[in-house]
Every structure is written in structure tokens, then in C-alpha cells.
């Protein structure tokens, strides 16, 4: 599917489509390359996200030490560039003598798994809710949208802390809570886009030849919303990573042996006077990852949304 185009998915139906020859549309790959050459921030973003992905996927196979290995004799060693630092622990060690670099690499996986599954599932749930609300209308629409209002009126972080404190902070619970928080954005956007698109000529044409409402929604309307949803999803990914870290920081997130950057930060909070690196290293890692995801998100938006494209 050509996500670059926001043209109606049914070829040859609208006037625009027949007038404009296919070939004048830029190829996706060329667009990506051209925009990368111009947009240095996007390159930085891709590098940062690349490092994050590499740490999360192959990292644990390269850095094979156990992130939970405690060597109390080596506790509170500073990073290697400080006077007492040792090369074996490049980012230093924490109060239990665990290697901070190893823990950061392994923690990337937690944020990736939670981030991708929470955003992905929230997109699925939210888009479905949005399509159903728009296409069925009436009471169904009213119920789904009021649910969304309720969701938006609850301060999410409180809800998340409550649910996780009560049910326990496993990976699964964390993802479920984050889906609960995330679906609303997609539901609202998809609903309003579908309401708008279904009145367009290609949708009317599909209805005229007898396609069912759901068929029109899924085959003709949803593909036109994909770009928008991907853009929101990328920017939401940053929020989800921060939320995971925040909840782990507050002590209701994932439990050991699972490593979380947020929990590492919380460990470092008690050692600010004697060991600044315990909190600084994972915090800097989170910030750089979020920075990367935000930059990539902006870039994806510029590419996928032709109205914002400068050429």
C-alpha cells in the first residue's frame, strides 16, 4: 500500500485521479532519500532510534553479561572517564555493583517491547473503535465517544498507578494500561476522518455499486487514514516510552529481573550525593531515545502529510 499518497484508494474514480498521470507522483523511496538529504535533524533522529533498536534487538546477544549480576566489591564505581573508573564498567556501577552499561543495553528491550506493543495495539483498538463509531453512528457512536471522554477526563497517571499497584507491574499489565490510555487519540482521529472521507466521491461510488458499509470502511476509508495514524503513532511512541519509565520510576512498573531505565533512575535517586552517574546515565539514555523518536516522528509527518511537504 502506498502510504505516501493520500489520494482516494479507488483508482480512476475521482477527477483528480484521471487528470493527474500516475508517473508525476514521487516514488516513496525517492521522497525518503530526498527529504533525508535536506533534513539533518531527521538523520540524527534515525541514528538515535537506530541505536535504541540495536540495543533492544541484538544488544543482549553482544553484551552477554547478566544485567542483574551483583558484585558488591565493585559497588559505586564511577564511569571510565572519571579518575577511579575502570574499563570493565564503562558507565560505572550502581549501589549493588551492577554494571550500568549492561543494564542500559538490556533495559532498551523493555522499552521497545512495551512501546511497540502498546502503540500497535492501541492503534488497532482505537482505529476499530473509530471506524465503528463513524459507520454505525447513533447510540454506538455516542457510547464510544462518551467512553473516550471518560478516558480523557481521568488523569491517566493516577489510573495507571492504581491499576499497576493493585494488579502488579508485569509487562502484560503495563501494556494493557498503556493501551487503555492510548486508544482514544486514534479513535477520535479515525472517526472524524472517516466521517469526512465517506462523503467523498470515491466512497459514494463504492456505495453506489453496492459495497457494504464495513467493506467501504475497511477497504476504502481506512487506507486513507493510515498515514495520519502512523504519524500520531510515532509521536505517541515517545509518550509511551516516557510513561513506562515514569511508572517504573514510581515503583509500580516492571519488576526485576526485567530491567527498566525508569527503575534504574529511581535507584540512583538515593545516591545523588556520592554517585551521580547512577541516575544520570539511564536518564540521558531515555532523553536521547525520546529525542530520536520525536525527530523521526516529525520527519515521518513531513513525508506522509503532503500539505506540510515543502516541495
Amino acid at each position: 500500500m502506498n502510504v505516501v499518497s493520500r489520494q482516494p484508494a479507488v483508482a480512476g474514480v475521482t477527477a483528480v485521479e484521471t487528470v493527474m498521470p500516475q508517473r508525476t507522483r514521487p516514488r516513496p523511496f525517492a521522497v525518503v532519500l530526498r527529504s533525508l538529504r535536506r533534513d539533518r535533524a531527521a538523520v540524527l533522529g534515525l541514528i538515535l532510534v537506530g541505536i535504541w533498536l540495536a540495543m533492544a534487538t541484538v544488544g543482549p546477544f553482544v553484551v552477554r553479561s547478566d544485567p542483574n549480576d551483583q558484585v558488591l566489591r565493585d559497588a559505586l564505581l564511577p564511569p571510565v572517564w572519571e579518575a577511579e573508573g575502570v574499563a570493565a564498567h564503562p558507565f560505572g556501577t550502581d549501589h549493588l555493583g551492577r554494571d550500568i552499561f549492561v543494564r542500559i543495553v538490556h533495559g532498551a528491550r523493555t522499552s521497545l517491547i512495551i512501546g511497540l506493543s502498546a502503540v500497535g495495539l492501541a492503534i488497532v483498538v482505537g482505529s476499530l473503535a473509530g471506524v465503528i463509531a463513524a459507520q454505525w453512528g447513533g447510540t454506538v457512536d455516542e457510547i464510544i465517544m462518551r467512553l473516550a471522554d471518560i478516558q480523557l477526563a481521568i488523569p491517566f497517571i493516577l489510573l495507571a498507578i492504581a491499576v499497576l499497584a493493585l494488579l502488579g507491574g508485569s509487562l502484560l499489565n503495563m501494556v494493557m494500561v498503556l493501551i487503555l490510555a492510548g486508544w482514544v487519540v486514534y479513535a477520535r482521529v479515525v472517526r472524524s476522518e472517516v466521517l469526512h472521507l465517506r462523503e467523498m466521491e470515491f466512497a459514494l461510488a463504492a456505495r453506489t455499486i453496492g459495497a457494504s458499509q464495513m467493506r467501504i470502511a475497511i477497504l476504502h476509508l481506512l487506507p486513507n487514514v493510515t498515514g495520519l495514524v502512523i504519524v500520531i503513532g510515532t509521536l505517541e511512541l515517545a509518550n509511551v516510552i516516557i510513561l513506562e519509565a515514569a511508572l517504573s520510576f514510581l515503583g509500580v512498573g516492571v519488576r526485576p529481573p526485567q530491567v527498566s531505565w525508569g527503575a534504574m533512575l529511581a535507584d540512583g535517586r538515593d545516591y545523588l550525593t556520592e554517585a551521580w552517574w547512577i541516575a544520570t546515565m539511564p536518564g540521558a539514555t531515555i532523553s536521547l531515545t525520546i529525542l530520536g523518536v520525536n525527530l523521526v516522528g516529525d520527519w515521518v509527518r513531513d513525508i506522509l502529510d503532503p500539505r506540510r511537504r515543502k516541495d
Partner: protein, 306 residues
Amino acid sequence: MGPYIQRRLLLSIVVLFGVTLVVSALLHISGDPVAIMLAGGTATVEQRDQLRRELGFDKPFIFQYLDFLTGVTQGDLGRSLRMNRPVVEVIFERLPSTIWLTTVAMAFAIVVAVPVGVISAARPNSFIDYFGRMLTLVGQSIPLFWLGIMLVMVFSVRLRWLPSAGMLEPSSIILPAFTLGLYPMARIARTLRASMFEVLTRDYCQTARGKGLSETRIVVGHALRNAVLPVITVIGLQYGALLGGAVVTETIFAWPGVGLLSVQAIQWRDFPLVRAIVAVVSVFFIVINLLTDILYAYLNPRIRYS
């Protein structure tokens, strides 16, 4: 406007029912509050049953919820299990600190973001523009719990300039307010810059230029007034979001507000207190959103809600 506000108010009430119902249900399925209250104690089964009856926890869930609603109509949101006081009292004791913190944070965000946003748009690629872009990027990328910790490390632990926790001194507000205000500052500056850019290319700005007005008068007198509309929405939404951010900020700085109280209440499994906090914060949230929408419609005569 009238019918629109009426409809919004009605919807808000429905939403509040939903919010309290969801939270009550969540807490209900999470376990027996009496067992948690008396955990490790030597209370007999009879004593436990009696306490359960006194607190109304022996009734089916739906009746407990109805009791709560009856209480609400009389201004009674329940009694805190931990402190054995009406939750309304406990919450309203803490509320001023949170309002103070969020207001200072927002004021700080606006005071920095508005000039930065305006100058960035009026003088693209200037020093202020680069500063603004860095601010936006950094402000949106640093998680506030890390920002808070780093500020404490630098300004409290190393330099010993500012207190790291509590609100005993007037200067105590500085670090938490900066921590909480950085994100809205970034969002406001970004929105204002984009919106100014768009407005400055409009015909009436060109006309003003043609009349020979100074660029400053065009920017401040003509463009800013129109560019500020989307910013109002962002400020409203961000103020609501600050209530959530206050939970983390207050925890880091031991700031005695509702945010810290809510985390404690959850840890104590203080069922009525959690429910009441969520209800009160939600009311705030809804009211702020409503005020934002009304202000927006009032300032922008082109939009009239039906």
C-alpha cells in the same frame, strides 16, 4: 453559546458518573479493603466483619456505589480509611499547594514561551529562533522525573542554592515549577511559532506592510492577536496535563499536594481517598477544558458551536 455550554455541562456530568464508576469498579475488584487495612493485625473474623459492616463494604458493589453517589449530593465523598477523616477535608487541605505549583509552572512556561515563539517566527534563523527550537526539542524529550532529579543534583546537592524538597521556604517552588513547566513551555513556544508563521503570510499582514507599518507593530498588533488562538487551546490542554505531571513532580520534590497524596493513597490502598481524588481532579480537568473551549469561542467570533 448557551445551548452549547448546557450540552457540555450535561455531558460532563455523564462523564463524571463514568469516571467514578470506573475507578470504584477497579478498586472493588482489586481486593478487600478491610483485609488490607488490618493486614498483619490480630483482629478476629468477627471484628473484621463488624468493620466491614460499619464501612459498608459488606454490601454488593452497586449499592456501595449508590451510597457514594448519595454522599456526593450531600458534599460527602467518604472517609479516608487511613486517616479516619472525611476525604474532602484531606483533599482540600492539599489542593492549594497543587494549584500553586501548577499555576507557577504554567505562568513560568507562558512568560518564557510567548516571547520566544513570537521572536522565532518574526526573525526566522535568528539566535532566538535557534534557542527556541532547541528549547522545544529538549523540553519535549527530557522526561520530567529525570529533569527533576538532575536539577536537585545540580542546584541542591552540588551548589546548595535551592532546597531539594518540601515547601518550607519561598524558594522551594523554583525547582518543581521549572521541572513541571518545561514541557508546556516547549509546546506553547512551538505552537505559537507555527501559528505566527502562518498568520504573518496572510493578506492583512501584507496590507499592513504595504501601509508602511513597522514590523514590530505588525507582529504585535496584527499577527499576535490572531496567532494566539491555537495557543489558548494548547495552554488549556497543558494545564489539565499538568495535574497529571504534578503526581510525578510532587513525588520527586516531596511537595505536599494532591499528587503526592494520590500516590500515597494508592500505596495505602485507601479506597475512598483514591476515588475522591480521581473525582476531584477529573472535575478540575473537565472545568478547565470547558473554560478553554468557551474562551476560544469568545475570542474567535468565526467559530460558533452549535
